[in-house]
């Protein structure tokens, strides 16, 4: 135990901020976990609206279909912990300006879907915000094989990784595995926040 008491941890987390790129299966579940854990400020970015198919793994409800994901996640987080400060952006991240909204968060979580955009996002954050820790994930599809997951630490890049999983074009996305990895990302973010506060 590196801390004197739980209050100290609570205070550090409440004075911390996490930015999440994407509010699908990874991002919505990670955001809710971090809100429950008492992270004081969340910067949440997504351009999409909720479709029925999303409910198989994303943290939304039937009566939220058709709403934007930023609007719905705000409702859901407020119902859990209204003290959390939320900065919401309904927009699509575009190459060249991806890092702007993350310059004032402590840790960034990549929770995007498309492999090309994931890669561009990581490249851009590592280049433009080299001192910022970024948590990313690759290999979330399928079921089972929890033990294949590992954390790769490459400098400031922390990757939740399953090198053997298939792309989402070739395999299904199931809630247990998506939520497992979303919470793996959230768990890493908390670990980084507490380590960096030492």
């Amino acid at each position: 135990m590196k801390y004197n008491n739980f209050n100290e941890i609570r205070n550090i987390l409440f004075n911390s901020s996490v930015g999440i790129a994407g509010l699908g299966g990874l991002g919505s579940n990670a955001a809710v976990s971090l809100a429950r854990a008492g992270i004081g400020r969340l910067v949440l970015i997504d351009f999409d609206i909720i479709e029925e198919e999303n409910l198989s793994r994303q943290y939304y409800f039937l009566d939220q279909i058709g709403k934007s994901k930023v609007e719905a996640i705000e409702e859901n987080i407020k119902r859990i912990n209204p003290e959390i400060e939320l900065e919401l952006h309904k927009l699509e991240l575009k190459k060249g300006s991806m890092s702007e909204l993350f310059s004032n968060v402590d840790v960034i979580i990549e929770a995007l879907d498309d492999a090309k955009i994931k890669t561009e996002f990581i490249e851009e954050i590592l280049l433009t915000l080299p001192n910022k820790s970024i948590v990313s994930a690759s290999g979330v599809t399928g079921y089972g094989n929890s033990d294949r997951l590992e954390t790769k630490k490459l400098g400031k890049l922390y990757l939740c990784y399953d090198a053997k999983a298939l792309s989402s074009e070739d395999d299904m996305l199931y809630a247990p595995r998506v939520c497992l990895i979303a919470n793996w990302e959230a768990n890493l973010a908390i670990e980084i926040l507490l380590d960096e506060s030492q």
């Binding site: 994407g22 590592l126 280049l127 990757l159 999983a165 792309s167 989402s168």
Partner: protein, 66 residues
């Protein structure tokens, strides 16, 4: 005269680019993040970036799903 790629020691080849190294390693995934000695190499530089001797190289492939 060796380099280490994802923890595996292999021979260093003079003037080998990132693209050529990925080919030699038979890494066929289209979307990879490459770090040489912990520095990111942009994908647009893969053809021109030459691997230095004694490098430590990480290649991560990114796949869709989230």
């Amino acid at each position: 005269m060796t380099i280490e790629v994802n923890g595996r020691k292999i021979d260093w080849i003079e003037n080998e680019s990132v693209t050529k190294l990925l080919k030699r390693m038979k890494y066929t995934f289209p979307l990879v993040v490459v770090k040489i000695n912990d520095k990111i190499v942009l994908r647009s530089d893969f053809k021109i970036k030459v691997i230095p001797d004694n490098s430590n190289i990480d290649v991560i492939h990114m796949i869709s799903g989230g």
